[in-house]
């Protein structure tokens, strides 16, 4: 196991090198540059040339890449935003916890509803419940997140005034955030009011963001349970007279969990790389909306630093998924 982890961590080096080249080239292949993006309709050929010169964008690409590499690897510095002058690491410290908190909440929602839904659909295969759940999951996958977000907000915030529609906490509250994980901060500070306030702010964005993973998980669970429950060992267990709930929990669900774990891992990795639409609709200060703005602003340091960081996160999440295989099914040898 340890060997496997070390090997995967070492693989990070070529992966990150490749990602850095891809991101570097990709953003420079986009038309325009920070100069035009920053100046907008006030851009003149002179001011564009001046800014391109200032940031060395008039240099050959290999020189620009070398400078970027020296800055990132040599000085262990992800860079500073051209637009805001704020260091990328400082922005990540602020924003990544928001994204993690939202991603976890969305996955808790998706798993706690998706797995039972898929399992029940499989157990009631061909029934109205099965068809209904298939239809619901189809709708879950098809409905645009921003639309769902707006509808949820309209019902629960605008009409009912039950839940907040924007942000991570009550704007009038004055609280300290030592970790920037607001739930953790509320627990550390022993502040139940802050904890409840944070949870309330999480509910709607988590439902909106979790709707697609929920639908996917439900469908995968259904298919996986259908496969497993017809296996010989399940029939054997039933024939031996094991109570149905034990057959389901020990033999069906546990074996069906492998593909579900894969999909949960992949979805979590995706959610951790930022949920642009959800973050935008709910004014959630995460990495997704931050990177989206950076694309429009052609803020090269933010894009390069931010995406590199997310690549690392993605690799780690996948590593955790691989390790979890071994825990779920000891027959799998990671080495």
């Amino acid at each position: 196991m340890l060997r496997f982890i070390v090997r995967r961590l070492l693989m990070l080096i070529p992966i990150l090198f490749g990602v850095s080249i891809l991101v570097f080239l990709w953003i420079r292949l986009l038309p325009g540059s920070p100069a035009e993006a920053l100046l907008g309709e006030r851009a003149t050929p002179q001011s564009i040339a001046q800014i391109r010169h200032q940031y060395g964008l008039d240099q050959p690409l290999y020189i620009q890449y070398w400078r970027y590499l020296v800055e990132t690897v040599g000085h262990l510095n992800l860079g500073t935003s051209i637009k805001t002058f704020r260091p990328v690491t400082e922005e990540l410290q602020q924003r990544f916890p928001a994204t993690v908190e939202l991603a976890i909440a969305a996955m808790i929602f998706a798993v706690s509803f998706g797995v039972p839904l898929g399992f029940l659909a499989a157990k009631k295969y061909g029934s109205a419940f099965d068809h209904g759940s298939l239809l619901a999951s189809l709708i879950g996958i098809s409905i645009p997140i921003f639309f769902l977000g707006l509808i949820l907000k309209y019902i629960f915030s605008v009409r009912l005034h039950w839940l907040p529609s924007i942000g991570r906490e009550d704007v009038l509250a004055i609280r300290s955030h030592p970790t920037n994980f607001y739930i953790v901060d509320a627990i550390i500070n022993g502040d139940p009011e802050a904890l409840w306030d944070t949870i309330k702010h999480l509910i709607l964005p988590a439902i909106a963001l979790g709707s697609i993973p929920l639908a996917i998980i439900a469908r995968i669970t259904r298919a996986s349970v259908l496969d497993v429950q017809n296996e010989d060992y399940v029939r054997t267990a039933r024939a031996k007279g094991l109570p149905p709930h034990e057959v389901d929990s020990r033999h069906v669900l546990r074996n069906a969990m492998l593909p579900i774990t894969t999909i949960v891992g992949l979805q979590t990795g995706l959610l951790l790389s930022g949920a642009v639409l959800t973050e935008t609709v709910f004014a959630w200060p995460g990495v997704g909306s931050w990177l989206k703005d950076a694309i429009f602003d052609r803020d090269y340091p933010v894009l390069q630093g931010g995406i590199l960081f997310l690549a690392i996160v993605f690799v780690f999440v996948n590593l955790i998924v691989d390790i979890s295989y071994a825990i779920l099914n000891p027959r799998i040898r990671l080495s």
């Binding site: 325009g32 100069a35 993006a37 100046l39 002179q46 039950w162 609709v281 004014a283």
Partner: protein, 556 residues
């Protein structure tokens, strides 16, 4: 686990969520403190340091904390005293003497005086290289231009309008210019030129920083992020990027104290999200209301719309470097062929007025006279003009418009372009469309002179005609591709005139000439909208968005 147990579990989970939602009921989302106002901003400020920003969201905060020597009468572009009580230009127009207000203190309790004025001007003139680009110090570059120690490619002191600053005792200061200019006085009303505490600038290292190998500036100080100190009615309390920025009333403010103790700016990028936050009561106001949302706000008895006076112009740009646009008759035909009245009435939800001149009506220098050619929609006249120019109909033109953008002066550029194309095709033109995303492609292509006929516009930076006319037509500009010595000279003379009455006449003459020469065809001035809760009073929209929250209060 049996079906029933799982069903029970799922049911319990649903109940738990519904329970939480129900328990959250009780108006948590519509809390409104009596002494605080939450305002929905479209983004975080870049930095709270006036000379280093040009975006509206930064300036909205800067406007509350800093003040300039002169200000604007609320809701107008009329210059009024602020930190200076009076001012006078020398006969040659090169020395401007300002008498300063006495008893004014910065928010760090240091005194405001003549020395602090000179300190600020010299700070701007001496900005280090990384801060000299248009992207950072746009307003200094636009109004004064030139730095004491210019970086490569940046104009130096010989090109700067600013020559120096002299103190005459504690309360009199003289600004020395290298040439006559009057437009700078209007620009001084912008809080980009607001006075900052010299002590705070030094203490919090406002301009200190290093430049990395990629040319990016890494600031070391905290002046613009944690300690922006000015003389305004509010002072910064906290700024949590992405979450909120809070300002508190400054107890030592020299003028009328702020009516609300705290203003909170909350970044909400999405238009629909800002609207919903207003409807739910989480914010009490927001700017940049989308045209399609105005009716929704108006229909809600708890909300209201405030109009910001029109201070922009939407125009069809013409590049005379691309024949046959160098022919005046073709440009006139284009003007007659654009059905401007129809576009404005159909696509601006009653918030636009047809532009007959480049300047908006409230800017001094607007001619508004019969001498201004009007070009009402006339396909017949357009065709006659094209034929008299010796061209065969239809005359092909390339018409450019941007995508992925909505500006106050063109909420939906594609619709405008299509409508204009239809009227031009009736008028003897054959239109070929070109489009690209606004940021950064379109802007770059147009400013490079690639577009022959294009949609663009301008929102004024400050209330002076030079900021419209001279910026666009005061010198050769690749996007318009003409060199008209007469127009350049007219605008130069008008800008340098220090007698305001004469200056206004000069600009009025220039306006008439512009509409005869037709470097562009202006077609609309629009009123942007702000939305508020109905009980919010005292907010006065400004044409240049220089709006004070210190006068805002709640009606009982």
């Amino acid at each position: 686990m049996g079906f029933k147990k799982l069903a029970l579990l799922a049911g319990l989970a649903t109940l738990a969520i519904l329970g939480m939602v129900a328990a959250a009921s009780g108006g948590t989302s519509s809390k409104q403190a009596s002494n605080a106002l939450v305002f929905g901003a479209a983004a975080d400020p870049v930095i709270i340091d006036g000379p280093l920003v040009s975006d509206g969201e930064s300036l909205r905060v800067v406007d509350q904390i800093f003040q300039g020597l002169v200000g604007l009468k609320p809701g107008t572009t009329q210059i009024v005293p602020l930190l200076a009580t009076s001012w006078k230009a020398s006969r040659n127009g090169l020395t401007w003497t300002f008498n300063l207000r006495k008893g004014v203190k910065f928010q760090d309790n240091t005194p405001f005086n003549a020395a602090s004025v000179c300190f600020n001007f010299n700070r701007w003139f001496n900005f280090p290289g990384p801060l000299q680009s248009d992207a950072v110090t746009y307003y200094w570059n636009t109004v004064f231009g030139g730095f004491h120690h210019p970086a490569s490619g940046v104009p130096g002191p010989d090109k700067s309008l600013y020559k120096g600053c002299k103190t005459k005792g504690q309360n009199v200061v003289q600004l020395l210019l290298t040439r006559r200019s009057s437009s700078f006085l209007g620009a001084l009303a912008l809080t980009n030129f607001g006075m900052a505490s010299p002590t705070a600038i030094r203490k919090y290292k406002a301009d200190a920083g290093t430049v990395d190998s990629n040319g990016v500036f890494h600031p070391q100080g905290t002046f613009g992020t944690q300690h922006p100190i000015g003389t305004g009615p509010y002072m910064l309390k906290t700024w949590q990027v992405g979450n909120k920025l809070e300002i508190d009333a400054f107890p030592g403010y020299w003028g009328k104290k702020a009516k609300l103790q705290r203003i909170i700016f909350r970044p909400i990028a999405d238009n629909a999200a800002r609207l919903q936050a207003l409807q739910s009561g989480e914010i009490q106001g927001y700017d940049l209301v989308a045209p399609q949302d105005i009716q929704t706000v108006k229909a809600n008895s708890n909300l209201k719309i405030l109009d910001r006076p029109a201070f922009n112009v939407g125009y069809v740009g013409i590049n005379q470097a691309k024949p046959p646009m160098n022919n005046l008759k073709v440009r006139q035909a284009l003007a007659y062929g654009l059905d401007r009245a129809s576009v404005v009435s159909k696509f601006y939800a009653g918030r636009g007025q047809v532009a007959t001149e480049f300047l908006p009506p409230l800017v001094q220098g607007y001619a508004g006279s019969k001498a201004v050619p009007k070009y009402p929609f006339s396909p017949t006249k357009a065709k006659q003009l094209l034929q008299s120019a010796g061209l065969t109909l239809p005359v092909p033109i390339d018409f450019w418009y941007p995508t992925s953008v909505s500006r106050p002066y063109m909420p939906d550029p594609q619709r405008n372009a299509e409508a204009f194309a239809a009227s031009l095709e009736q008028s003897g033109f054959k239109v070929t469309f070109h489009s690209s995303p606004w940021r950064p492609d379109y802007v770059s292509q147009v400013s490079d002179g690639q577009a022959q006929v294009f949609l663009l516009g301008w929102t004024g930076d400050f209330g002076d005609p030079a900021n419209f006319d001279n910026v666009h037509f005061g010198q050769f500009n690749t996007q318009f591709g003409f060199k008209n010595a007469r127009l350049f000279a007219m605008l130069r003379t008008a800008d340098s005139e220090t007698n305001n009455a004469k200056r206004v006449k000069d600009y009025q003459a220039a306006e008439v000439y512009i509409m005869k020469f037709l470097p562009v065809v202006p077609y609309v001035h629009t009123k942007p909208a702000l939305a508020f809760q109905k009980n919010v009073k005292g907010y006065i929209p400004s044409p240049v968005s220089l709006e004070q929250f210190s006068t805002v209060f709640y009606s009982s």
